[in-house]
């Protein structure tokens, strides 16, 4: 079921906003490319509120000693223990098979941001 959240021009790229859908805490982020993503707003570790953390480009590497910010991938970092979650998947890049938060499909239509849950 789709839920309307807010106007699509209310968030700038890099912005993060909290939302509530059916009593579920959601965090909506707008990536640098302007697209939206939505995750459960509770860290799977100890319940940190992800919307109070940092939205960052994901650190990737071409080899030992090389640090590069990914042009496409971004992570939301929990404020409690700095666990990172890929906003595209909700999964930790370090431990994707076990450490994850739920992600939700987000669409933009009629000038509004919609989330499906």
């Amino acid at each position: 079921m789709k839920h309307q959240l807010f106007g699509s021009d209310e968030l700038e790229p890099g912005d993060v906003r909290e939302a509530q859908i059916d009593g579920i805490a959601i965090v909506v982020v707008r990536k640098r490319d302007g697209s939206y993503r939505a995750l459960r707003n509770r860290c799977s570790h100890q319940g940190g509120i992800l919307s109070r953390g940092c939205l960052e480009p994901m650190m990737v590497s071409g080899g030992v000693g090389d640090y590069s910010y990914s042009a496409e991938r971004e992570v939301l970092r929990c404020p409690l223990h700095h666990w990172e979650f890929d906003v595209d998947t909700g999964r930790s890049p370090a431990y994707p098979e076990k450490v994850r938060v739920r992600s939700y499909p987000v669409t933009v239509a009629d000038g509004k941001v919609w989330i499906e849950r």
Binding site: M59, G63, V64, S68, W83, E84, S92, A94
Partner: protein, 377 residues
């Protein structure tokens, strides 16, 4: 010595019926004067004329274990009354006949050249001399004995030349290093050494030496050093190799951690994984979580077997998530040599026991794969 003095003690008298690979035994050359003939005259004079007797790393302890072992393990004594482990015929009898070991992997503790101060060129010359003599005096005379190359971390180009020179020998199965504390083995400057090892199907074996230290250095008591230094230094070097991406660059590179214990593995895996979830961005070249790297690339020898009953061992195997990580070792001819038939607790399932006692080793050292037929009998 009376005739009865040479009777083997009961604990090592029963040969094993199972296929056993011993991943940590020590062979000794007969002192530095004997090594001198494998050196050029220019380097040999340091031994023959100037009295060099070995590498002084400043080890402050005298534990008594060497003397006690010499006094009590009479069946291990060479006929020439030399050091234990310095006579191939005695080693053959002890390991293969009495202990029933099928294959023994030897590493040497007399030339820890990576601990040397001063001229690294002399250290490299000693490494070459050692490698030459171990092939000539041991491996070429005993096909069941595998050997380890000595290399000098102070001289990486020389280390690579040694691997290229001796690596093709079918019984050279690993490069052995003391668990050094002055270098991080994950430092990229050493990567060409590990690449050379992989090219020649060699693993890296790490074993503490007298220069290995705890995080406190050399503690006041030897027992503190013996209990902690091997594990402290081993964990540090494994973390260095993992977080500096050695196993991401060389996916098939294997490291055997010898005589450093293994009951710390669940802690180590959990601790590294936990830190990785928070700090992966500091080492973005690491593409697998540390516990996965440990499971795939690191093996640990069993001796000295820590206090474990079968329930505790099975729980540990469950916690580390692998039956492939442990390799039986005896540590012959040291005071705490484990007994083949008694090293593992009673009740270990046959399949797991066969892996630890031999099959895991065959899967670890690429050159031992040719013995796989023996393990399945």
């Amino acid at each position: 010595m009376s005739a009865t003095d040479t009777e083997p003690v009961a604990a090592s008298a029963a040969p094993s019926a199972e296929f056993v690979v011993d991943a940590d035994v020590h062979e000794y050359f007969k002192g530095f004067p004997a090594l001198a003939r494998y050196l050029s005259p220019e380097w040999a004079r340091l031994i023959t004329e100037w009295g060099f007797k070995g590498i002084d790393v400043g080890f402050p302890y005298t534990s008594g274990s060497v003397v006690r072992t010499y006094q009590t393990r009479l069946e291990w004594r060479p006929e020439d009354e030399g050091e234990l482990g310095s006579d191939l015929n005695v080693m053959r009898r002890n390991l293969f006949d009495e202990m029933g070991i099928a294959i023994a992997i030897a590493n040497n503790l007399q030339v820890p050249v990576s601990f040397m101060n001063g001229s690294y060129e002399f250290g490299s010359a000693l490494a070459t001399a050692y490698n030459t003599q171990v092939v000539e005096n041991w491996l070429d005379k005993e096909p069941r004995l595998m050997g380890s190359l000595c290399i000098n971390l102070d001289d990486p180009a020389h280390a690579i030349r040694e691997i290229e020179r001796f690596g093709p020998h079918p019984q050279i199965v690993q490069v052995a290093l003391p668990t050094v504390v002055a270098y991080e083995l994950g430092d990229p400057r050493f990567l060409p050494i590990w690449e050379a090892a992989v090219r020649h199907e060699l693993v890296l074996g790490l074993h503490h030496g007298y220069g290995t230290k705890t995080v406190l250095g050399y503690p006041r008591q030897h027992i503190e050093w013996k209990a902690l230094a091997p594990g402290h230094a081993m964990m540090s070097q494994l973390a260095s190799l993992i977080f500096n991406g050695v196993f991401d660059t060389l996916e098939c590179f294997k490291v055997v951690a010898m005589e450093a214990g293994f009951t710390w593995l669940p802690y180590f895996m959990s601790r590294l994984d936990q830190q990785f979830v928070s700090f992966r961005d500091q080492v973005p070249w690491v593409t697998r979580k540390p516990s996965d790297v440990l499971r795939s690339n690191i093996r640990l020898t069993t001796q000295p077997m820590e206090f474990l009953n079968v329930r505790q061992l099975m729980r540990l195997i469950d916690e580390i998530g692998s039956e492939e990580m442990l390799l039986f070792s005896s540590d012959y001819p040291h005071y705490d040599t484990d007994v083949v038939s008694e090293a593992l607790p009673n009740g270990v399932p046959d399949e797991l026991r066969a892996k630890i006692m031999g099959r895991n080793a065959l899967a670890t050292y690429p050159k031992l794969a040719r013995f796989a037929g023996g393990a399945s009998q």
